[in-house]
Amino acid sequence: MNTDHGQYLLEMNDLHIEGFSDGQWHEIVKGFNLELKRGEVLGLIGESGAGKSTIGIAAMGFCKAGCRIKAGRIRFDGIELTDASEETKRKLRGSRIAYVAQSAAAAFNPAHKLIDQFSESVIQHGVGTREEAYADARDLYAKIKMPEPDTIGFRYPHQVSGGQLQRAMTAMALSCRPDLIIFDEPTTALDVTTQIEVLATIRDIVDYFNTSAIYISHDLAVVAQMADKIVVLRYGELIEEAETRQMLADPKENYTKSLWAVRTFKKLSVPRSTHSEPVLRVNDITARYPKATQPVLIDVNFEIHRGETVAIVGESGSGKSTAARVITGLLSPQEGSVEFEGQTLPSDCGNRSLEQLKKIQMIYQMPDTAVNPRHRIRKIVGRPLSFYLGLEGSEKQQRLNELMEMIEMDPKQFLDRYPGELSGGQKQRICIARALAADPGFIICDEITSALDQLVAEGILRLLDRLQQELGLAYMFITHDLATVRAIADRVIVMLDGRIVEQGPKLEVLTPPHHEYTELLLSSVPEMNPDWMDNIMAQRASQKGIQAAGN
């Protein structure tokens, strides 16, 4: 296209964006500058609330409801977006600037076929006819290696998997061959094994069409694979900006360094003493949900010892969370039993005694939904105290204070607040305090850090580690994040399709030789090396070649 509008495709000058909440305007983006060349990929990094998505959307001249652009300029290919009419901007969106959302499942219209949603903007913007769009969609589906590219477009969004849907969305963004695509955390909701495929697809396609892109993510390792240039944001301000390699090798600002250092936390692994009795033993569990024909868990066996952290890893749908539901007694297994401290537990939690119930506690993935929003912290943490231990009055108050100290929160300040007045990390700490209040021997942690920013998550992991050393707790850590596993686990259990494919001490599982699936899982975790993805894709391709030759 015409390139006579200056050197940059997208420019932002001193951009200020405000959001309206609690009756007044707050500045979300505080004077942001950006220059993006044609064909260049920019990575935007920051914690939640840093203003990444707001800036991403502003690149289309758009603001979310309750937000407004207060000052500054956004210039796209010589067009001033801040002054442009809705009509002008509407013509740009979809045809010259495209957007790929975090959750493809929520962004697709469930009532229309994929290929019709692909064609919509092509026809709307008058780029081509329906037939041309269909043909182009098939080409693109083939290019991004979708299975059955000729027919997959005629499926509805719920008929393809999450990773395929995310790739279909990337294809859709390309339908009008835009000059700029904004990727807003496109792989955050995906498993690592799927993530690497989507990442590879996005990069190939961006290279192939020489499209500019803004890639928004909180995951540094991912951005390192994708971007030519990285911008670090915090509280709506630019902290640091540099070429990817330079940024990774030599970060200047302290905040950037702290982001880089997040993955350094490692628990001191304690080897299991051979004669200790297991706290929890899961014997030959086979379970399925009511009305389902296929079991979700098949012959699952494992033990967890006192003071030990066992991580259960696997993709979504592998049965990790179902194992937790069987242990807590929310789902009765068809076969097998759960033993706690040598005692077989009734399979339904309704039949368990208070003494049995209090010993097994659970911490959930989403701290927002795990605590009742209409209860004060005092009640949330205090209920197990009076329910299990019968504490009241000053005894209860004293124990509440102790628990709040344990989770490093000031009892005076927080006990009379509602959950809505706390941050995500603080809410998760309250969930930990609630679990501790029951005086348990064993805690199930179901993806407890996946909804949190990396720095906050690291704080939670350190806290759990300290509590384990002080109280001798056993943890079952359900996660799909292998960085967390490396940080906190003593033993690792790898699950696939409801079966345990490998289990053992962390070092044994994480060092070769691996089970084939463990290998795939481990090699798919992005590393902080910009060449990582090239290497891994080359390696996999050559392996496939060898296999094909062997066959």
Partner: protein
């Protein structure tokens, strides 16, 4: 102990001042509604002192016009209209309030129960409610009242059962959204019994839509009772009641006398006032205010 009571006092004082602040920020319509409701409550509570005569005392000739002695004239038996309207506030509003409360307790508890327990309990309760709702409420009430007789107790019980079916549906629907939350699962795993889960975990989270519904339902019950009284099946003479007062004096309309419209206006005014307050309440509790 002392410390705790002191805390509680400061907490409730805090709440009072917050409630006061909320009232001052209320829009004009809501303020008007609150004042009207307050006047009704005052009149209902202190009826014997407010009214110039006794409730069913015959004090003059029938259908006397408005004058200094009988401010709003007299009815078809020669009872003072103003007195009847004042006592009517007590009877009609009191019965409507009692009926609505009973309907909410019944429908609310069963609705939440159906959502929490699910399975055949939910099926059974929901189908019974479907059957009740299939019959038009007013006709059903008339039918039951003619079977069981028209006493005030029967009126309250029958009206509340019929109304409970509507509240059951709402309570069940809003509870469904709460039941799937992790904190309900956490309470179950903790070993909490049903009453705790219903009252402590679910009820606080659905109280806003239920409270809004309470206001609306109160109006409907109120209107239905007035309608039944007008038809002769509601509150029975000699008890003063706005619905039957309209019927008893209706004939005056043909003589260009607007007395029958006054009890009707009393009904309309209260309905409007209650709805003003609900609208404000709904606006406060729904997140609409943040949208632009």
């Amino acid at each position: 102990m002392r410390l705790i009571t002191a805390d509680k006092i400061s907490l409730s004082a805090d709440r009072l001042s917050r409630a006061y602040q909320l009232l001052t920020e209320a829009p004009l319509s809501a303020k008007f509604g609150i004042i009207v409701i307050a006047v009704y409550i005052f009149v209902a509570l202190f009826a014997p002192w407010v009214a110039p005569f006794g409730e069913s005392e015959i004090v003059g000739r029938k259908f006397q016009p408005w004058d200094d002695q009988f401010f709003l004239g007299t009815d078809h038996l020669g009872r003072d209209m103003l007195t009847r309207i004042v006592f009517g506030a007590r009877n009609t509003v009191g019965i409507a309030l009692l009926t609505t409360i009973l309907a909410f307790v019944l429908g609310g508890v069963l609705g939440i129960l159906a959502a929490v327990v699910g399975g055949w309990v939910d099926q059974l309760l929901s189908r019974i409610v479907d059957v009740f709702m299939a019959i038009p409420a007013l006709i059903f009430a008339m039918l039951l009242l003619s079977i069981f007789g028209t006493s005030i107790v029967n009126l309250i019980v029958i009206m509340s059962v019929i109304d409970a079916t509507r509240i059951f549906r709402i309570a069940r629907a809003v509870s469904m959204n709460v039941v799937v939350m992790d904190y309900i699962e956490a309470a179950r795993v903790r070993g909490e019994k049903l009453p705790w889960i219903i009252v402590q975990e679910i009820l606080p989270n659905i109280s806003a839509p239920l409270a809004a519904e309470f206001g609306l339902r109160f109006c409907f019950v109120f209107l239905t009772i007035s309608a039944l009284s007008f038809l002769g099946l509601g509150i029975q003479p000699p008890i003063a009641d706005w619905g039957s007062m309209v019927r008893q004096t209706a004939v005056l309309i043909t003589f260009d006398d607007y007395t029958p419209l006054i009890p009707a206006a009393a009904i309309a005014l209260l309905t409007v006032a209650v709805n003003f307050v609900i609208d404000w309440f709904l606006h406060k509790t729904s997140g609409l205010k943040d949208e632009h």
